[in-house]
Symmetry: C3
Subunit: 244 residues, 3 copies
């Protein structure tokens, strides 16, 4: 059965549409490593430290220190290939080459190798393979997930590799927006997201990717949305030419 | 002793004032049931699953699939009667009949049988009795509650049966607003609420109703307010013609 | 190494620039005391109850019941002196004398004895010594703190002694803003703060001060900033005429 939603506000994409050259942007230098969980109190930090090496800031311009971030991307492993996943709207410019940096300040060229505007998803391949395992995906979201804690790491307003948290607020099925956009499943969260967060991973308490942080409801207080992980998997199959 | 507050911003009610006919709104279909708590990590989901069958979206128009939600209501049991509690401002139109749906998509007519504008509280009676127990009320709030976790389930911007959370930020006693409004006790929370949340239950960690989510401070970041549960109890007594 | 950030939005100070005489403001009367932690569920309330006696609302005008709060301050003990710490921008008027009240409604005169505009920090001395221990400082913040829970108590929009919470979102090193402002370390949190929160303590889960809540990113969703506790310590040494 299809469900229709009236959208009172507007969903706004979270990339920075215009690149403004004002000031210099360099990443925070910090070594990151996998941590053994020491106590309950450090668990959210563990999620951060384990995930952040696989997360990137995506720029339209090679002069990453002079331009604003376009959005966020994250590495996953698909059939022994390291793919960078992001929103299609983060890399929707005419460019085919983007510039990615990680929290250690290492810079990579990334080429768009697949994009699906309907699902707002794109894959990039890096010019050099970084020594990172990539994030694990957990596509098994279900209605019992409402209320569970979720996290994202992204680059809101050029504050690179910032963490935000919230809960899953709703799992909206078969959403139809007034502009015709359709989503089979749209994960709604209470995470406060901002321009630059687009394309970042929505992480569960095990640090697994359950979605891609994509948009917020304009003028709302804390209503943000993520493309579910099963849409990543569907598009990986499509990219690999498999039936799905 | 009376206390007076200067209200710098404006408290705005959280119902959608104007019904806009644009698109179709249907509830998410999902079976809900009482769950046994399995582990600490599922507890917030337990609060959701246990409460949501007793929560309703309230519409001014029978064509609930074509109109926007006016607010939220929730069922409680008062002297073996099932009452729907909501804010007075959610049902302040000239209508006496409203249209309520639950998360299963079941539709009910609701008649306003009591309303108190000063306390911003109203009771509705459903045309048919749904097979739900109703939520428990815990009116025993005190200053030691500041900091404790709270939750609401409501219908922000037509995203039906969405959960949001926060902490009790303050318990404001004897609040006088510039427009003359007076509240003996106003529960202040950090929950991000939106139009459509009005009339929803403020739940504690046991899933008990401790208030009615009613308003937010305009232009504030995350300052929302709830009518305390003891005001529900006071009005139930008033409704029943008892002294109080 | 220096890092530069492009600031897309504007950082806005959280004090109320203009004192508006509209209505009366009196503190909530409530006795507060140190509590023994009873269970995990009351821990956030414990942080509140233990900290709030050392926290003050700061007014420009002696008629605190007729004016709006300028910001928040908190007591610390430095070399057996009780100092009130706040942001410089909270007490940047020409006044040297400010009026402080605590949650019990006790009123004090406070004199600015030290201020550092670059670090946005000021110290006040009270005319009478209140019988409070003052808050403990923990300046030992590091990158493993990202994700940990933080709290503040302040006076947003004249709702006195309100608590808000969030996580440490980022630890931004060597931040240079477009207006030339420089911060060696800027603690970024997800706490929703509002005008009146400026100068309030950023507390960790042990109720220790790890920073001073100072600003939010204008137009952002939930991006707020705090001066780190080591800047308090640096300025205490400077105030005491020691080398640092």
């Amino acid at each position: 059965m299809k469900h229709f939603y009236t959208k009172m506000g507007m969903l706004v994409a979270l990339s920075l549409g215009t690149v403004i050259y004002s000031g210099n942007t360099l990443p925070t230098t910090a070594t990151t490593k996998h941590l053994t969980q020491q106590s309950n109190r450090t668990s959210t930090n563990d999620i951060y430290e384990q995930a952040v090496p696989s997360i990137f800031a995506i720029y339209l311009d090679s002069r990453t220190n002079k331009s604003s971030v376009s959005g966020t991307g994250f590495a996953i492993k698909a059939q022994n290939e390291l793919l960078i996943v992001t929103n299609e709207h983060v890399v929707s410019s005419k460019n085919q080459i983007f510039y990615l940096i990680n929290k250690n300040g290492e810079k990579y060229k990334g080429r768009v190798i697949y994009s699906n505007k309907d699902d707002d998803i794109a894959f990039l391949k890096l010019s050099q393979k970084p020594n990172i395992p990539g994030l694990e995906i957990d596509a098994n979201i279900n209605k019992f997930s409402i209320g569970t804690s979720v996290y994202t790491i992204g680059n809101p307003y050029d504050f690179l590799f910032s963490m935000s948290n919230g809960i899953i607020s709703n799992l909206n099925e078969n959403v139809v927006f007034e502009d015709g956009d359709f989503d089979e499943l749209l994960i709604q969260t209470t995470i406060n997201v901002n321009p630059g967060n687009s394309g970042g991973p929505l992480l569960n308490e095990d640090g697994e990717v359950i979605g891609i942080v994509s948009s917020m409801l304009e003028d709302s207080n804390g209503m943000s949305f993520a493309v579910p992980a099963k849409t990543i998997e569907k598009n990986i199959k499509k990219f690999n030419g498999e039936t799905f």
